[in-house]
């Protein structure tokens, strides 16, 4: 399952995105957006849909790129298009329309692109899911978890929040309990694929 992926020459797009470089973002937009737009327009979408899907895909790729261990093993275009296509298919499902053509299907036959694209979207879905649960916590829980996950020890957390160390630990444990409950009680949790 974890065989080594060979880095594709387009990896520079990933590095440029990870560094948040404007010129790389602009270059990607100019080079690849027209094709995405064509695909969306051919599949019952509008120009505004194409822009939304492109942005969503780019944010997913950006977040994945920021995690540092990402190896692009296929052309960037195929990877981006796979993600856009999957996002658009989901959107159409929401809109209850499924008449999607296979006009650009050749791109998606790139197995590596398909796999990478799916992994990226799943990764983003998980990020979002856990974040939404965190957002449901109360203010004091968010503060204590935020501090304790910023890389400082519980002693310092307690000092910064001006509470006792014992209380800080107890409170953190309660907050974690609450967070885990929110995660496990959401039916969407069961739907997130885990290998």
């Amino acid at each position: 399952m974890n065989h080594k992926r060979v880095v594709h020459i387009d990896q520079h797009y990933i590095s440029g995105l990870a560094e948040n470089r404007q010129e790389v973002i602009t270059a990607i937009y100019r080079k690849f957006f027209p094709r995405i737009k064509r695909y969306i327009l051919k599949n019952t979408g509008k120009e505004a849909d194409a822009a939304d899907i492109f942005q969503e895909a780019m944010v997913a790729i950006f977040q994945r790129a920021r995690k540092g261990d990402f190896v692009l093993s296929c052309p960037f275009e195929a990877y981006l298009l796979t993600i856009c296509r999957n996002l658009w298919l989901n959107e159409l499902k929401h809109r209850k329309r499924q008449e999607v053509t296979n006009q650009e299907a050749n791109v998606y036959k790139d197995k590596s692109a398909q796999q990478l694209g799916e992994e990226t979207l799943l990764d983003q879905e998980r990020d979002r899911f856990f974040w939404q649960k965190f957002e449901l916590l109360g203010r004091s829980c968010k503060d204590i978890l935020k501090l304790s996950w910023s890389g400082i020890g519980m002693q310092q957390v307690a000092e910064q929040l001006e509470i006792s160390y014992q209380y800080a630990r107890k409170k953190k444990s309660e907050c974690i309990g609450r967070l885990m409950e929110l995660i496990k009680n959401d039916p969407a949790f069961a739907k997130l694929k885990y290998e």
Binding site: N20, I25, Q55, V59, F134, L145, W149, K172
Partner: protein, 247 residues
């Protein structure tokens, strides 16, 4: 359950003694639900901590992305330039040279500024492909009457395509039928099409042409106000400003 979290947290936060740690690891090995619970907690922590750390970076990224898109939208003529390739750049360079070196007086302003982009419709792969190739060839060879007829046929496959409308207008203008060209350019000028400022530019040129033909000043105010409407983001801004200077 919260008790378990206390243990897991103490373990993850490195707050257990060596013996406690060993004992807890033993439990992890023999209690898969506990191990699964710890994995889930680790994942939640790593994903949420990532989002917390990345909040600013994501906001920056989104604003960079918006910038790229906005820049392109404002520059819609840029995609027009892309589409018509090098030709329009060459035409613009030729105009610049004319402006710099024009000895003045002997040719009309209209002629100086009417440097048309080349037509390039061959990208479109539809039933009308052959028609597109013919129209492109004729227009670029300056055979405007034939090109106009071919563009008319082509437009039945692509009704209201703003780029076809532009070139139909240019054909008429080149054929000396300025009055007939006006509705074409006006349609673009009054639209939200990506090349609407090309429409504005050509409408101004058309009135300039008429004004020169009639040797009257009556249309010049119209030319000026049209040129003033062309914004800096348009590919025709510099020409418009230069022409305004001359007027």
């Amino acid at each position: 359950m919260s008790k378990n979290y206390e243990h897991i947290l103490a373990y993850l936060d490195n707050e257990l003694s060596a013996e406690e740690r060993a004992a807890f690891e033993k439990r992890l090995a023999s209690e898969p639900p506990l191990a699964a619970e710890m994995d889930l907690l680790k994942e939640a922590q790593s994903r949420i901590a990532f989002q917390l750390k990345e909040e600013q970076a994501i906001a920056d990224f989104q604003s960079h992305l918006q910038e790229a898109i906005q820049e392109d939208l404002q520059d819609k003529p840029t995609s027009f330039i892309k589409r018509y390739g090098l030709y329009i750049t060459i035409a613009a360079a030729a105009i610049a040279l004319l402006i710099i070196f024009w000895p003045g007086g002997s040719e009309s302003l209209y002629r100086q500024y009417a440097q048309h982009p080349q037509l390039a419709l061959t990208e479109r792969s539809t039933d009308s492909e052959a028609l597109a190739a013919d129209a492109t060839e004729k227009f670029n060879a300056g055979q405007y009457a034939t090109a106009f007829d071919l563009l008319n046929d082509y437009s039945s496959y692509h009704p209201n395509d703003p780029e076809i409308i532009l070139f139909q207008g240019i054909c008429l203008l080149e054929l000396g039928q300025a009055e007939s060209a006006i509705p074409y350019f006006n349609q673009l000028h009054e639209s939200n099409a990506i090349n609407r400022y090309e429409g504005t530019w050509y409408l101004a040129l058309t009135y300039l042409y008429i004004s020169e033909q009639e040797a009257s000043q009556t249309n010049l105010d119209r030319v000026i106000s049209l040129l003033e409407e062309i914004p800096p983001s348009s590919a025709y801004y510099e020409e418009a400003q230069a022409l305004l200077g001359e007027l």
